[in-house]
Amino acid sequence: MDELNHSLAVDVAGAFPTVVERLGGRLYWGLRRISGSHQEAEDLAQETLIRAYKALVDYPEERIIALRLDPWIWTIALNLGRNHIRDRARRPRFVGLVDDVASDDPEPVDTGVWDARLSRLSAPQRTAVVLRHVVGMGIEEISEATGRPSGTVKADIHRGLTRLRTIMEDEK
């Protein structure tokens, strides 16, 4: 990760495709599990990465080197998710995404059951559980991304998992 920070500090435009490649998939799937919607997740992931790029262009070198990319990207994503800010109309649209409103849903297996279970958690619990176990972030990183103290994040995850177990028990 450190190496990527250094490449970014030297040449944002040159190194940014690597950021997309490395973080894009996890960002999309995390957002997908939090929102339960392919289109919403695709839209937000796109917007987040574009804003991240614009921010990096203006950041001084030291700030880029010190940046923890995962929590930083997720801070942007979660803020956008709250505010629903969009300016898609000003952007060229990749033709793969043009014909229908969004591209084909890449869902590999039927995970609708999981989306239904996750949708029953409170937003902070769902976000914490998804960031911890689907995206694979650490407690400190989640705390940074959500702006909640790490003790609270731990409690969110714990309660979220307990709730999910109860939901699954009830299914039997």
Binding site: R91, P92, R93, G96, V98, V129
Partner: protein, 249 residues
């Protein structure tokens, strides 16, 4: 399977199109699409700031673009905010509601190109006129050089700018025959203008209103009795006043 394990399996690969959309949205790559025009199919490139280039869709235009700009092109639809105005803009020969991205140009280059879009369809102006309009009357050659490097021909209508001696001159988009074809298409009657240039007629006067114009100006073209002059000084001597529309002096 533990619940944590199951959750860990709810991810997946980066979805198709995300990489391309981000490249387009950041401007790291440019979008392109093909459009019809009076000179055949053209390839238009764009980014979030607006249209960046226009070229004939001939040969390996993707490679030409890459060599000129160092950027890759991704097939895309123009931004929804102005996409529907693009075909009109190409046919009318003026940006209109379509934003143009002139960031790679110097201020002088951008200013000169923007003034070309004030030349009405069906008319032409000499390089010298354009130099005067941007308040650099001695920069006629520099203006000519801006025309030959116009990144967005047709939309920024450099084909309406002609040599200071009145001849139609060269055209960067595919050569002089396309310039003649375009001017013909727009109703500027280039054959008539070439005849007047050979006769060294620089301006023409309307005998009734005593106003003199550049020969392509719609004002003098609608006059019933016209007189030819070698230059504006001759017209002044005969008591003619310059036209406020084409500003021939």
């Amino acid at each position: 399977m533990t619940i944590e394990r199951e959750l860990a399996g709810l991810g997946g690969p980066i979805p198709a199109g995300l990489t391309e959309s981000v490249a387009l949205g950041t401007g790291l790559a440019e979008g392109y699409d093909l459009y019809p025009s009076a000179v055949g199919e053209v390839v238009v490139t764009f980014n979030p700031e607006g249209v960046s280039t226009l070229d004939l869709a001939e040969g390996d235009y993707l490679d030409r673009f890459y060599r000129r700009t160092g950027k890759t092109l991704i097939r895309a639809e123009a931004p929804r905010a102005w996409a529907r105005h693009l075909p009109t803009s190409i046919e009318a020969g003026t940006p209109g509601k379509v934003p143009v991205d002139l960031r790679p140009l110097t201020r002088f280059q951008a200013q000169v190109l923007r003034v070309t879009s004030q030349i009405p369809r069906g008319e032409v102006r000499p390089y010298r006129w354009l130099a005067k309009e941007v308040l650099s009357p001695r920069a006629t050659r520099a203006v000519g050089s801006v025309m030959s490097h116009n990144p967005i021909p047709l939309i920024l209508p450099c084909h309406r700018v002609v040599r200071s001696d009145g001849h139609m001159g060269n055209y960067s988009l595919g050569g002089p025959h396309l310039k003649l074809h375009l001017l013909e298409h727009e109703g500027a009657d280039p054959a008539r203008l070439e005849r007047l240039a050979r006769a060294q007629v620089k301006v023409q006067g309307d005998m009734e209103t005593r106003v003199f114009c550049l020969p392509s100006c719609h004002v003098v073209r609608s006059a019933r009795r016209v007189v030819d002059f070698g230059d504006p000084a001759e017209a002044h001597e005969e008591g003619f006043v310059p036209c406020g529309q084409c500003r021939p002096v």
